[in-house]
Symmetry: C2
Subunit: 306 residues, 2 copies
Amino acid sequence: MKDVLIIGAGPAGLSAGVYCARKMLDTLLISGDIGGQAMLSWEIENYLGYQLISGVELVERFRDHLENFKVELKESCKVTSLVRTEESFTATTNKGDEFSGRAVIVASGKVPIRLGIPGEDKYRGRGVAYCATCDGPLFRDKEVAVIGGGNAGLGATLQLAQFARGVNLITEEQYLRGDEVRQNRVLALEAVDVFYSSRVTAINGNTFVESIDLMHDNEKRTLPAQGVFVEIGSKPSTSFLPVQVELNDGGEIIIDANNETNTPGLFAAGDVTNVSEKQIIIAAGEGAKASLSAYNWLLKQEYLRR
Amino acid sequence: MKDVLIIGAGPAGLSAGVYCARKMLDTLLISGDIGGQAMLSWEIENYLGYQLISGVELVERFRDHLENFKVELKESCKVTSLVRTEESFTATTNKGDEFSGRAVIVASGKVPIRLGIPGEDKYRGRGVAYCATCDGPLFRDKEVAVIGGGNAGLGATLQLAQFARGVNLITEEQYLRGDEVRQNRVLALEAVDVFYSSRVTAINGNTFVESIDLMHDNEKRTLPAQGVFVEIGSKPSTSFLPVQVELNDGGEIIIDANNETNTPGLFAAGDVTNVSEKQIIIAAGEGAKASLSAYNWLLKQEYLRR
């Protein structure tokens, strides 16, 4: 029986791990990967203390930091169910392993939202991608489309513009969202065309993607594209949670300012929660808060010996 | 007229500055110092991404980070009043300067709580100190007392044990608080004696401090001490705020999960708020959140041109 199970090892889960270790809690961190969505960030310049660093490098620092402490890590597995028993929680993984803990910190993050249009599934891995950092270099000197006008879409566009012959950035809105700095950089690039108020309706091809269909002012248009990067956001990973855990309309776990949920002993942090801004530094802070709240709760329940 | 005034340049204010800069907001950061309470931390091992760093060094990284962006900085001054006018806020400093902004982020942190006992004021700077990092080295081979059994008191004790002949750690509680890791390190030190359930009632001396009086089980005891480090916590710096800003019983600004206060356009972050854990990584995350909330508010009020 562990003191704390942490589910997810993005910035929130890793920061929670560091804080649990510092409180000498017997902790198990369960995750499919290390770094979560932070791994997909190409240039990070807003994590206080690092002026400019890639997601991959920053996650490496995080991992080194955690390895400095004695936190048990169960990698490459996914929690498929979490059950509340009388005095603890039991997590079951996709490999059939079971782990129990007095308290749980859910930091399972988000997964990319799919377009749900014809061709998306068929061409996944054959031109359709969800991570410009991972797959961008495959599209050197090709025509690519980026779908989504927020920070993720802008970042993907900037990155792809380094490789691709041309980038068509498509947004359903009349303007770009995301940081002004990024907007300006995108708009200054000759290789980039922005399509406002446009909806992608289909992805076409043979063996690989060849084009996409757009609707703009009730007019259909077809653009050539060998790569299609879907950057329209992500949804919280909460399917394993006990039904009593309260979620908001967006499916995010509702927490208070101290990361408590409506379920005693169950805390949450990072992108999976209703904290509206999804940022690495925010997730790291929230993970720390969740650990300290879990620690205080364990003390109050007298699960920890003094 | 600035878009945003940030009051305070601890981790919360600095992170807020970085985020405002990334949103290209016209921002002024007003502060007496850079780094705030983080400067007083001697060994930091829980800021995700840095395994072990001193407060002074970490703050240097923060300052470098901010200087990378164009954020105007007004150092070495203190906001003495903040007034809400119809469409903006005006901050007045102790030097008589006035600055106006559409939105304000209050990140003014906390100041140390005083014991309020005889001798404390008289011997301030003559043996009574509030920062072991700053003043510890002055007490080489002396007898010192640390008052307070939380993380601050434990940190001061560990630090002073490197210099002092002996350290008496005094707490009113029956046990130590603070991280278990630190507790164990303190308890393992031969040079340290811990006095539980003990209250300091007076600080005595001639030109400099010579001893302190303790009450334990209704018995008075006098301990020799050339240095007295007061580490019993701190209180929020809010005296300059307009009266309508809602505070909790501890005098902290009440914020919601998105760092809004009860006053439109006024946001808050870090140790000055009701977020219960006072940690550098948490303050950095909260500062980022406050900036993004301020940005969204400015957009909604149509104060920013697209």
